[in-house]
Subunit: 453 residues, 2 copies
């Protein structure tokens, strides 16, 4: 019985043209990763749930795609949870594996598992899909690609400088104007200290992270709700209003945080990183944003976020320094810093701004028409020559009207059609039609390739 086919919501098919555009983005990112000395690794799509669970918060656990155990999975299911119809509790007894949710936790797992083979500092990049059972909406998919680069085993701020410069190189090549926002977790800790609420850093951060969306007044309301004192809120306001060029902002922030040891260290780190990238020069606009937190769960130093200028779109790249990512897998004290390009959002940005180079859709250079057995047989010899020279070439497989064959070539954006008919077969010639200009010329078969310019 025929079914009307469809795909799961939040997932996508990519056609040839979409693939060409996506590959342009992936190839650009991959090439810059390579230039910066990052080497590729890949991890399995599935990880043990014990690796994934508890790493992304309670909400994250719910968003993991879980794989049903194979075979008679109910045989080992917990009967009590089954009878109680308790989905949450039952899961662990009928599912042992899940699809990876990001590339960071699998990377941490990889580092610990392969610690004996890795040269520290270890630099790797990883370009693979991740899966999240999020509610699909514009720009949010259930299967999407991340492109991560990380250095672990080095505390040097040179890594931060390199990664920011790398981000700048990628978006320069992609011709996307971006703002790179910076912050430092230690600055956030310092702020909490100087406003007299060192134990409320998390609450403060969660609240001020929303300032772009809901405004200062609503943020202050939330801070009061979260138990911050009115004095604390009043002390915080000037910090959130810091303004001017980046160096001035740093100076102001340094003054405000002078009393806090950790805050002062955060400002010093930011200063060093910013000086480093400015010495190298950036095309991107650099911004200090003390409200930037990016979840904060695991960042301990520099925090990085990139936004496209002139396009309404969330963060298209983000990252930061983490000091204990591998601790949960039994390898404490390993510091690292990494960034993650959101390929699908970058794809949406490039589509919106129409930033693809004209030759992105690289297709077949020449189609040979198929006008008869003998003609096709000779054409296939010419195909062989073309391919040996690296020229993508194909023959129309069926013997149909030439017009239909031409239409097919045209619809596929093939720039040249070459015809060996009865006459050409007898003469040793070939007729080449330039599909853009309509010009046609008949040349010796031996000169075939040189006429495809």
């Amino acid at each position: 019985m025929a079914q009307k086919p469809s795909i799961p919501k939040g997932t996508r098919d990519f056609s040839t043209q979409e693939m060409a555009r996506r590959n342009y983005i992936f190839d650009t990112i991959r090439e810059v990763f390579r230039l910066y000395g990052f080497n590729p690794i890949e991890t399995p799509s599935m990880e043990n749930l014990s690796t994934l669970m508890g790493k992304y918060g309670e909400e994250g656990d719910k968003l993991l795609f879980k794989i049903l155990n194979s075979g008679d999975y109910l045989a080992k299911a917990n009967g009590e949870h089954l009878d109680a119809r308790d989905s949450v509790k039952l899961t662990s007894s009928i599912s042992e594996k899940g699809l990876r949710y990001d590339l960071t936790v699998p990377f941490a797992r990889y580092v610990v598992q392969h610690r004996g083979e890795l040269q520290m500092p270890f630099k790797r990049y990883q370009i693979q899909p991740v899966w999240r059972a999020d509610r699909p909406q514009r720009g949010r998919y259930r299967e999407f690609y991340q492109c991560d680069a990380d250095v672990v085993g080095s505390t040097s701020l040179i890594n931060e400088i390199e990664l920011i410069k790398l981000i700048d190189d990628v978006f320069t090549r992609l011709r996307v104007p971006v703002t790179i926002k910076l912050n430092n977790r230690k600055v956030l800790a310092g702020i909490a200290e100087v406003i007299g609420a060192p134990d409320k850093m998390m609450d403060i951060t969660v609240a001020i992270d929303k300032i772009d969306k809901i405004g200062l007044e609503k943020v202050n309301e939330e801070l009061l709700e979260r138990g911050l004192s009115r004095t604390g809120v009043e002390k915080l306001t000037p910090i959130l209003k810091i303004d001017g060029p980046i160096i001035e902002r740093l100076d102001q922030l340094g003054g405000i945080l002078a009393e806090s040891e950790i805050g002062t260290l955060g400002v010093k780190e930011l200063r060093e990183v910013i000086a480093g990238v400015e010495r190298l020069g950036l095309n991107a606009e650099l911004e200090l944003d003390v409200s930037l937190a990016r979840g904060l769960n695991y960042y301990t130093g520099t925090i990085i976020e990139v936004k496209a200028r002139g396009v309404e779109m969330g963060s298209i790249t983000g990252g930061g320094r983490y000091d204990n990512l591998t601790g949960v897998f039994g390898m404490p004290g390993l510091s690292g810093v990494g960034i993650s390009f959101g390929a699908d959002r970058i794809y949406d940005v490039l589509n919106t701004l129409n930033l693809y180079p004209e030759d992105t859709l690289q297709s077949t250079r020449v189609m040979l028409a198929n006008l008869g057995d003998e003609e096709a047989s000779l054409s296939m010899q010419l195909l062989k020559t073309a391919r040996a020279e690296g020229v993508a070439a194909e023959i129309y497989p069926d013997q149909t009207k030439l017009q239909k064959q031409m239409k097919w070539a045209n619809e596929r954006n093939i720039p040249f059609v070459a015809i060996v008919g009865e006459q050409e077969l007898a003469d040793g010639t070939i007729t080449i039609k330039d599909m853009a200009t309509g010009r046609q010329e008949t040349v010796p078969q031996a000169e075939f390739l040189s006429h495809l310019k």
Copy 2:
């Protein structure tokens, strides 16, 4: 609490060196696909189970990885099946999606779903992982890559000729000596006819498919068990013993099948395909193998299988003609032909024969040492120049002993180390060490790049 990390059985991490080797294989296949006019598409990792179930036989249904529905999946579960602890029946009410099992069924689904946008004949390639809950063993993984090329919407045998030549090109480039085995489903139907058991084609095929593994005698036993008459078995034996060069085999087969219309058609198709590829010339050995069936579920014409010569390994590539792949999705009568490269087995073959070009592990060209703040700052400017010229370059991030930095470069196969120390900083020079020869020279910084040959 620290956990000892591991990955699910049958899955693999790929380190940098493994990635380099695998990318060499994928890039080779992709480039040949491109030269033959195939364009890429991608489909989601997850498909609706309604798309996948029933397409791979009962055994295949069991080997599908099924994804647990999100949220309170037990709320919609069938209570009867739950109480009866019936895993098989319960599945459909707690799981709607599965991971793709191959690239063929998703491709058929894609063609039907996008029929309005596609130019027929439609040629596509697809390189993506697939998942099977098979029992893991040597050379069999639960996550592995397939590399498929298909043409649909054309019945021309030129497609078969092109695909066989394409296979030959791929393995020529990879330097793997192969045998390409050919058969035709119509020949199998013809054989069943002439031995007087036209209704037993399936049984005959399943049995003779095993001839390489269990030998003629055991095959005959199985045929008798499957209800074939003794006369039938006797008539079959000379067919299975057909011998000699490929054209002679074709002649013998043509004689034996002369009485069967479908068998004769099968021989004619084989003749045309073989003549076509021999005109173009192959490096591969071509073989006619009447016992070749490859599952047979959906092949209707040519059947292709590739084995590496001199390596104990199953089929490394396979394919064939199918006439009704899209019928199940409501689009009958669309003929196609395709091949699938088994990238993971090809990887195992290349590893066994050690066939990788020396420069496969393309890594960083030069590491700059890090000997102090000012030295590093200047080195980072040199890095910038190198990268702008397309030269992969990196700096050792930490200021540690030069010896340690050198060791790191060496372990990562970086061919050059460049050093800016106090002296070089003062002189405007840089010292470059060739890690292979140990030779060292000090040159002006402006000439840095030209010394990395």
